[in-house]
Structure formats: C-alpha cells, structure tokens
Symmetry: C2
Subunit: 115 residues, 2 copies
C-alpha cells in the first residue's frame, strides 16, 4: 500500500493537547503517549533532535548526520523514520537529498503531557 503513512497524527491522542486531566489516564492513552516517548527515548534519536535544533536553518540531510552520530547510513535513516512516524520531525525531498527538520509543536505536546 503505497502512500500510507504510519505517522501518529495529533488528533489521535485527544488528551495530550491541554493536559488538563482530572483523573489518571487509561491504558489506551498511555499506549499512545508511550509510542511517542519511545521514539524520543533513544540516544541516537536524542542526538538527531538536538543536532536539528542547532543546525543552520534548523534542518539537515542524512549525509550530514551519519558522521556526528558515528552510525551507518541505514541506521540513521531508520532512526529518522522512527522520529518522522512519531511526528517529531518532517521530511522534505529536494533533489537527491532528504531534508529533515523538527516539528516543535510535537515536542511542546510531549512537555505538556508531562505536566
């Protein structure tokens, strides 16, 4: 099935926007949030997010990322896919290169949820 994205859309986790809970979350919400948190809970992916944050024009292509991470190109590509599926980074193809950039609102959601 081409064109099907596995990205978790914001609407899927209705509870994580305002974080105005008055009672404990249930299993379904916990699983949805855990999916996003798992995407962040990896050293390589934390480095990727950090590099993107401080990159000129807040973006970078895969070829700029393998060397600072010390990982192979397939592995870096894999990590970027995990981040993209979680909605934490976006991908834009320009010529032969794939440019990745942060989706800041997604990290805002994470922080809100932890309040």
């Amino acid at each position: 099935m081409a064109g099907v994205t596995k990205e978790l859309l914001l609407e899927d986790i209705s509870v994580c926007a305002p974080a105005n809970h008055t009672e404990p979350i249930d299993r379904a919400v916990a699983e949805a949030m855990a999916t996003i948190l798992k995407a962040v809970a990896d050293p390589a992916r934390l480095q990727l997010l950090s590099i993107l944050k401080y990159a000129p024009s807040q973006e970078a292509c895969v070829c700029d990322l393998t060397e600072p991470l010390g990982l192979s190109q397939p592995t870096v590509s894999h990590h970027l896919k995990v981040l993209a599926d979680a909605g934490l980074v976006s991908r834009e193809r320009r010529g032969s290169w794939a440019w990745f950039s942060l989706v800041p609102v997604r990290l805002d959601e994470l922080r809100s949820f932890l309040e």
Copy 2:
C-alpha cells in the same frame, strides 16, 4: 552488596538542570537522558505515574496499583523499581506496605530537557 542504589542522581546528568544548551548534546548526555526517558516510555509506567499524581496524598502502595493496571504483582513491582531507579518515584516502607510517591522535580527536569 546491600544498600547500593542504582538510582540515577541528579548530579549525574549535569546538563539537564538549566537546559541552556548552545550546541548539540553528545553521546554521553544523550545516553543519560535516554535512560530516564526509557523509564517513562512505557504504558504501564505512564499509568503508574498518572495514578500517583491523582492519588489522595499523592501516594499509593503496590496493592492499590495491580488492579487498575491489570498486571501481576511482580510486574507492577518491577515497573515501580524502574521508575524508582530513574528517580521518578520514591519508596517508603511503612509496616508491611511500600508507599510510592512522585518526585516532581524529576519530571520538571525531563520537561526542561525537551525545551
């Protein structure tokens, strides 16, 4: 070796207090933060944190937690240990019961790091 704790102390991650970075984090910092994030990135543990947050007097014992989570007592005990090792909850023995409560400053650190 009795009395040895595996808790990650705040001092161990010198960079996560103010979150005033000006350059990308290195692998060591990323690994330290990933350890704490991994502790949070699990549905059962997110539920535990949430239940503790809304519990009367912000604490609960294991026997109060198995039923809402639908998991066995050893499994809940295991998850609480993971959270305690990450410094996210504290444990206090009172009689036969072990009372767990949140360590809010630890969650503050997580949020700061994601800024």
